[in-house]
């Protein structure tokens, strides 16, 4: 008796293996969707803003008149663009030393029992929605700022001097400087938390050997740990800047919303995001195209800043 093999033996395929390429395809599709979304933002802003960009050309960026009156529509966005850059830069200049100080305090100086609570508090505050900061700015900060900072400074400035120009504006608590301060408070917890995380990546041996050589705390921080995290720190700062540039709600409440080129610290101004938030729902035709073109400008600015930040941060931590 012989067994006749009428088919060569086959390896069994595992159950469900046919679905493998489908699953991989789904995962790939989802990853591509994210890419398409970011590309879509750019393309849709470019298409939507094209009527305004082609009509005004370079004047869209350099012009200072923003006039939606249908009889003589002109859109020059220099006011909002400069407003965005100034408020963000000022916010960064104010928040950076403070955020650095907080991070150094938490890592080098803070008593151990306080380290966790303060660190946690800073991280939790980084998650508070920006609209809360905006409301606080409008209802609490602005009246205080008008009465105790703006009015005294304006009356103290000698007439005709540089100071009078700098402090010009309406002392109602809202304006360029007030918006910068609120922005600074908003990005502060975020930057402090990121810097602290970076400082924690410094190996203890590096820090300890510096102390062992007799360095003071200031010397350890400024000439050992800070250079160690240099690249990442610049990345963290630029992430903070990216946040400030694109921030809408905290600014819209308090900047005063005027399209003119801001002349003084207390003068009303606008940012790109606040202009879009205020006008887009009432806009149509050319005005709406101009607002979308403004969005495109913001996209280009923030994309550059964020891309640089990510490239610098990548080498250290993925914040």
């Amino acid at each position: 008796m012989s067994i006749v093999l009428n088919a060569p033996p086959r390896r069994g395929t595992p159950r469900g293996a046919t679905f493998e390429p489908v699953f991989e395809g789904l995962c790939f599709g989802a990853a591509t969707a994210l890419l398409v979304a970011l590309g879509g933002v750019l393309v849709s802003l470019a298409i939507g803003g094209w009527p305004a960009l082609s009509r005004f050309g370079l004047n869209f960026i350099t012009g200072v008149t923003w006039d939606p009156n249908p009889d003589h529509e002109v859109y020059g966005a220099a006011g909002p663009i400069v407003g965005t850059l100034i408020t963000s830069a000022a916010a960064l200049a104010m928040a950076l030393p403070v955020a650095g100080g907080v991070a150094f305090f938490l890592v080098e100086l803070c008593p151990t029992f306080l380290r966790r609570p303060i660190g946690t508090a800073v991280e939790l505050l980084a998650g508070i929605p920006s609209i809360v900061y905006g409301m606080w700015g409008l209802f609490v900060f602005a009246p205080f700022f008008a009465a105790h900072v703006e009015t005294p400074l304006m009356s103290a400035a000698p007439p005709g001097s540089f100071w009078e120009t700098l402090f010009s504006g309406i002392p109602n608590g809202s304006g360029m400087l007030a918006a910068s301060i609120i922005l600074a408070i908003m990005i502060l917890p975020f930057m402090a938390a990121t810097l602290r995380e970076l400082l924690n990546t410094v190996p203890p041996q590096v820090r300890e050997s510096a102390y062992g050589l007799g360095a003071t705390t200031a010397e350890v921080v400024l000439s050992v740990t800070l250079p160690y995290i240099r690249r990442g720190a610049i990345g963290a700062v630029m992430l903070g800047l990216g946040r400030a540039l694109g921030e809408t709600m905290a600014v819209t409440f308090i900047i005063g919303n005027s399209h003119a080129f801001p002349k003084g610290l207390f003068d009303s101004g606008s940012t790109i995001a606040s202009t879009i938030a205020n006008e887009f729902n009432e806009a149509s035709g050319l005005q709406s195209a101009a607002l979308i073109a403004l969005g495109l400008v913001l996209f280009v600015i923030t994309f550059t800043v964020l891309a640089l930040a990510r490239l610098l941060l990548r080498t250290q931590v993925r914040a």
């Binding site: 595992p14 469900g16 493998e20 699953f23 991989e24 995962c27 989802a30 990853a31 969707a33 994210l34 890419l35 979304a37 970011l38 933002v41 802003l45 939507g48 030393p97 403070v98 955020a99 100080g101 907080v102 150094f104 305090f105 938490l106 100086l109 303060i118 508090a121 939790l124 998650g127 508070i128 929605p129 920006s130 609209i131 809360v132 409301m135 209802f139 609490v140 408070i185 502060l188 917890p189 402090a192 003071t216 705390t217 010397e219 992430l239 946040r243 809408t248 709600m249 409440f253 995001a273 879009i276 938030a277 887009f280 729902n281 969005g295 913001l298 994309f303 964020l306 990510r310 993925r318």
Partner: protein, 282 residues
């Protein structure tokens, strides 16, 4: 080699200045943030009452609440999370398990990081262009898509990170038992990373529940209570924005109460997320 005493003194003085600066700014920062929380609580608690949870947003001068905005916010955030979880988990899985060192993988990774911190108002404009303008109506769906675009990068990022923490031996042993790769991912890797992915999801949820800018041009607002996501829909942040900018004190009080509600729920979700992420840490 003798060190001159004056040099030591100046280094000491520099150190004292530095330490004093750090302590001072920490104090100032914490004070400013405490001040914000204080006014949030003191102004918000006064506005909290049963009407908030039973009535819709009022016209100035009439009693009312925020129930339409609360329901709208919850509906849109939940819908957004469903979309974002699907895309985010799959995309994160692709980046961690299939992309490897490929060029396309690193491009997606990089642009996902950029999308993670892109200005939310631009996401709103984009969704307006693709979902509001063509259909000629603001809708709750458009709002959820905008929120999903903000949440998905966060989830993608966390999913990738936690999957990469899983040991390679785990994947190999699954495959050695004869399971297809996608089976290994589903039944071993995802299961092992549940708490990490959940943390990411909660953080993403906390982030989108306070977002205002992307909803302004997508979901708009609605004075009345509504479950219909194909129509304009109220949300807490947008109602706060509009009520805070009116000159009416009763609407302002409502805005404070709403702000307190949002901040409290965001803090609660963040704390829960942190509790999740702390547990499995060795």
């Amino acid at each position: 080699m003798a060190v001159s005493p004056s040099r030591i003194a100046s280094r000491r003085a520099g150190n004292v200045l530095f330490v004093a600066f750090c302590v001072l700014v920490t104090f100032i920062a914490l004070a400013a943030l405490a001040l914000i929380l204080y006014s949030l609580v003191s102004q918000g608690v006064g506005g909290l009452n049963l009407n908030i949870f039973t009535k819709s947003t009022p016209a100035a001068g009439t009693p009312g609440g925020l129930i339409n905005a609360i329901v709208g916010s919850i509906l849109m955030s939940v819908a957004a999370m469903i979309i974002a979880l699907t895309i985010g988990i799959l995309a994160g899985t692709w980046l961690a398990e299939y992309a490897g060192e490929s060029r396309f993988g690193s491009v997606v990774r990089f642009l996902n990081d950029v999308l993670l911190s892109a200005p939310s108002i631009l996401i709103g404009l984009f969704v307006y262009e693709i979902l509001v303008a063509p259909f000629k109506t603001f809708s709750g769906f458009a709002g959820s898509v905008a929120l999903a675009l903000l949440a998905a990068p966060v989830i993608t990022r966390t999913t990738e990170d936690v999957l990469k923490l899983q040991p390679t031996a785990l994947r190999e042993s699954g495959v050695a038992l004869g399971a297809p790769v996608w089976h290994v991912i589903r039944t071993i890797l995802w299961r092992g990373s549940t708490s990490g992915i959940l943390t990411g999801a909660l953080l993403a949820f906390a982030r989108i529940s306070g977002e205002t800018a992307p909803l302004l041009f997508t979901a708009l607002n609605n004075q009345f209570f509504s479950w219909n996501m194909a129509r304009p829909m109220a949300s807490l942040p947008v109602v706060i924005f509009q009520d805070a900018l009116t000159p009416y004190p009763d609407l302002n009080r409502l805005a404070w109460a709403g702000a307190l509600l949002i901040a409290a729920s965001v803090l609660a979700v963040t704390i829960i997320a942190r509790a999740f992420s702390q547990e499995p840490r060795r």
